[in-house]
């Protein structure tokens, strides 16, 4: 999956306008990044990348790009 497609998926999940995420956004600045969004992110990576992300690594993510990186090598530039 290309990074742009993954960002589109995250936009749906985070309820932000399509095409608005660049990756540089701080997760703290996104009001919709909450515990429900974390669960949706885990489900997204499981569905699209066939990967179960370690829950403790999500807490370490500071930016949207960190979430992309955590999704592993199946998300390509």
């Amino acid at each position: 999956m290309r990074k742009s497609e993954f960002l589109n998926e995250l936009e749906v999940l985070l309820e932000v306008p399509p095409g608005s995420l660049t990756g540089k956004e701080e997760l703290e600045s996104l009001a919709s990044w909450d515990s429900l969004a974390v669960l949706a992110y885990i489900a997204l990576v499981d569905s699209k990348c066939n990967l179960v992300v370690p829950a403790n690594k999500i807490a370490d993510c500071k930016t949207v790009d960190d979430l992309v990186s955590l999704a592993g090598s199946s998300v390509t530039a």
Binding site: S35, S47, P54
Partner: protein
């Protein structure tokens, strides 16, 4: 994973009881606002939870379910119960075991062996496994399995991770082994490294008497362990998902259940999601769903079922077997 096959299990009946008292979405609105309450309910699939009022314990709910079930059984049944198992993380007392109290309250014989098992979300499967193993060994004629919890009593007020999810329920299942029975395959597992992800820490230090849940850790544990467990128990039974009449997983929350169903490729019309009116009732959720979602087919005919419990511990278990026709009284309200 631990595997056991019980060759001739007979589940004679299952009953469930919930408190009449409810907590609804409006309560969540009061705590977090209408938009947030809507968002939480939309994800969890829970609109209403049953909350045991002060003085009503898990044992009371199980007792009500057991009395309702025994009322539908032949008069001699009570005297034939040689084993009483109470599975709960909401015992009446630190000691004695709640099963001992319930033996007396139910008027069971003094020759009845009674004990508690401390497990939550996986507890129904563990209880069935222990009870059916004892029955199969010839130790007992009939076993009464009581599974219930009042998790609402240990929730931190306004904790967004737990308050919207958990409800209270008690259940009773009557089991026997022998002629007319059917094979029951059990697969069980444990990973105690997840203990702190779902915990009420009232140990010696009495750190905090409230339930703490790391939802992300619980969800990732589920994704790692439940698909292999499901595959294992189906392999042992020789069944595919398409052979099953009902798939009843622990009713944790709708989001998790729907993701699991998709991941497993489970047929949606047979994958039970029925927690809207009750919430997550811990170990009671599987037998409660059997009563609320599968009552009619179970009373009518034999149903191939896959039951799976998973969560606090972390602990998990699955059972593939045939249930019915059997006694399933209407849901009891206390």
């Amino acid at each position: 994973l631990t595997h056991t096959a019980i060759p001739n299990l007979r589940v004679l009946g299952v009953a469930a009881a919930v408190p009449r008292n409810t907590s609804a979405e409006s309560d969540l609105e009061a705590m977090w606002g209408a938009e947030e309450a809507r968002k939480i309910s939309a994800s969890s699939g829970i609109v209403q939870r049953r909350i045991a009022p002060e003085g009503v314990r898990a044992s009371d709910l199980c007792l009500a379910a057991a009395e309702r079930l025994l009322a539908e059984m032949p008069a001699e049944t009570r005297a034939e119960i040689d084993v009483l198992v109470f599975v709960s993380q909401s015992p009446d007392h630190q000691l004695p075991a709640t099963a001992c109290v319930l033996q007396d309250r139910l008027g069971l014989a003094k020759s009845c062996a009674a004990f508690d098992i401390s497990l939550g979300c996986s507890g129904y499967i563990y209880g069935m496994w222990v009870a059916s193993s004892l029955l199969n060994s010839g130790t007992a004629r009939k076993a009464l399995l009581l599974v219930g919890d009042t998790i609402s009593k240990c929730l931190l007020p306004k904790d967004r991770a737990t308050v919207p999810l958990f409800g209270d329920a008690g259940t009773a299942t009557l089991l026997a082994c022998g002629e007319g029975g059917t094979v029951a395959h059990f697969v069980l597992g444990t990973d105690g490294s997840g203990a702190k992800s779902l915990i009420v820490d009232t140990g010696e230090a009495r750190v905090e008497p409230y339930l703490r849940m790391d939802g992300a850790a619980v969800f990732t544990f589920t994704l790692k362990e439940i698909p292999p467990m499901t595959a294992a128990v189906l392999e042992k039974s020789g069944w595919g998902l398409a052979d099953l009449d009902a798939i009843v997983f622990h009713q944790a929350n709708r989001f998790m259940l729907q993701h699991l169903a998709k991941r497993l490729g489970a047929p949606a019309d047979r994958f039970v999601v029925d927690l809207e009116r009750f919430g997550n009732t811990s170990g009671a959720s599987i037998p409660l769903a059997l009563v609320t979602a599968c009552r009619e087919p179970l009373t009518r005919s034999a149903q191939k079922v896959l039951l799976a419990g998973f969560g606090v511990g972390f602990s998990w278990g699955a059972c593939a077997t045939t249930l019915g026709p059997m006694t399933v009284p209407e849901l009891v309200e206390v």
